[in-house]
Symmetry: C2
Subunit: 348 residues, 2 copies
């Protein structure tokens, strides 16, 4: 049914008849079925308890088929030209015979605000390519939650055969750090112009960068871009050497003219080669996986707490007791914890 009227963000059918099975999901993904991949991502992103079992089974079964990609985080403040840049770099990657998935993290957007349409429009050529899969922002109330869902989407995309993953994020401060924790290579897009340099340094983003690209280096911007390049280069010298042994290049580039797009991709491949040789790649991935487990566990606990209606009712009651000094916060917390555990155990 749904196959006849495909849509980008398929709802999960609720009636038993069309209920997706883990088998169908995993088979579809491993065959590279983009529609099934999209549905699986929706399931993984869902906060509904009824899909958790399915989501976990699909993820568990995709895991052994995942990991064989290069994950590139791309960030930059609004206006830096991320979309056109990603499209240009993405088309170059596809020309090299790769399959590319573009995922986005944007804690400020929501699907209902039209992010999908926005993404479709702004990467027109890329989204038309059969070798590209573009998935707009996961939505969520917390950045941490959104970020964890994105990691899971990466797994699914890799299992579906995508060997280059771009994770795009808006440069608003926190999401860059979250993204840097899930990618192999972190790319910072900047513009030539006063103040930009300082901003990047202050927010600690420059320390995360494996490459800094001064975008929009075309036309009469070229000279300023080169000046900015020198400034960033000098600024980078202030940071200690990277654990990866990699020296982040600072490059000018243009999505408009295509300047240095190929060179940038070569740099990313050089990084991959270097860190494979010195074993950083593997060690880094392992540390990320470890971190991912801890965050997933914390997230699960947080979700369980939020979804527990009995607990929330008792919380309200105890708030009142604490406010009226009939019990201490520590005492109330202890009572809450005991009945939470009891309730959870009762549910099995």
């Amino acid at each position: 049914m749904a196959k006849e009227s495909p849509n980008i963000n398929p709802e999960i059918p609720d009636n038993g008849q069309n209920m997706l099975t883990a088998d169908a999901c995993v088979d579809g993904i491993l065959k590279g079925d983009r529609y099934m991949l999209s549905r699986a991502i929706t399931i993984v992103e869902s906060r509904a308890e009824k899909y958790r079992g399915l989501a976990i089974e699909v993820l568990d079964r995709c895991m052994p088929h995942a990991g064989d990609s290069i994950r590139v985080g791309i960030t930059g403040v609004p206006g830096v030209g991320k979309s056109s840049f990603i499209e240009k770099l993405g088309l170059h990657v596809i020309e090299k015979g790769k399959r590319l998935a573009v995922l986005a993290i944007d804690p400020s957007s929501s699907i209902s605000k039209g992010a999908i349409l926005g993404d479709k429009t702004r990467m027109e050529k890329l989204s038309a390519s059969p070798s590209a899969f573009i998935r707009p922002s996961a939505t969520g109330s917390s950045l941490g939650g959104v970020a964890r869902k994105t990691r899971e989407s990466i797994i699914l995309c890799e299992a579906a055969g995508f060997d280059v993953i771009f994770v795009e994020t808006v440069g608003v401060g926190q999401s860059e750090t979250a993204v840097s924790h899930m990618v192999d290579f972190f790319l910072l897009l900047v513009l030539a112009g006063a103040g930009d340099e300082l901003q990047g340094i202050k927010r600690g983003i420059m320390e995360l960068a494996d490459a800094i690209v001064i975008n929009k280096a075309d036309g009469k911007n070229l000279e300023d871009a080169e000046k900015a390049r020198m400034a960033y280069l000098r600024a980078l010298h202030l940071f200690p050497p990277k654990e990866s042994g990699w020296t982040p290049p600072v490059m000018t580039a243009s999505a408009l003219s295509g300047l240095h797009i190929a060179e940038l991709w070569n740099a990313i491949e050089d990084y991959q080669k270097l860190t494979h040789e010195n074993n950083y790649w593997d060690a880094h991935r392992k540390e990320q996986m470890r971190q991912w487990l801890h965050e997933s566990f914390e997230d699960l606990i947080y979700q369980r707490l939020q979804d527990d209606e009995a607990l929330n009712m008792q919380m309200k009651k105890l708030e009142n007791e604490v406010i009226n000094a009939r019990i201490s916060a520590a005492g109330a917390a202890s009572l809450l914890f005991k009945s939470w555990i009891k309730g959870l155990h009762g549910k099995g």
Copy 2:
């Protein structure tokens, strides 16, 4: 036994003979026994599981006797002269017939580093007064944990009859926010001099302040201090009016000469009067109590997780599974959660 050789930070006797009872603790506190108060704070600060029951019982029983004080947070960067200022203001408060407890939050210090001795030395006159109780920093690995312990210490001090509580913190950025969440009145100490003004504004601390005091306004500093006062006054105009209806005064002061110490205390009493009248005082306290419960609950869960050895062992095992792609992080998190609950329920 311990009474004969009192010490500032009494260890809790471990042998059954000297085991402290909640009755002895609460009776002592309500009688204003400073030694018992000090022991109770140690118990409350302890992370050991065996003292949790006792800590909670003592807190619960002290709660109805707490709350009747004015809680003043005092912050400022190192070098601003917090200790001498607190001593001067503290002595003034005591002269007015009040009983004063000074608690400190310093996430960077630890008792073993000699913080106690430091505190004793730097507030010599105040610590000699029978109307003052000075308690050095709670130690802890996380600021949040330390802050929650400080709230509990406030309760105990209030139950022991202290009607003015100073909570001191170093101006390192995060602890000010934590302190502002547990006090009625938040005092920012600054120095005259370049750069200071901006710093305060940037870190969002000025927004928290109910009064800004330019300290060390004595001798040849007087003129600069007055200039700084005007600058801060102008800067304060940039912020929206406070929910409390209070307009934060900006004052020069000197711990050395005593300049404006009395005036500052009058301002704090004015604040109390105003917010009692407009009901902000009560609403604010209630919101803080609510917040305190939520944080205590989160903290309890976090502690339980950390202390659970079986869980930590399973975590290590599952980290390995995730790293080797045999299971997804989400799948592993779900397994961990199930066995955690099971284990907790088994323990009762």
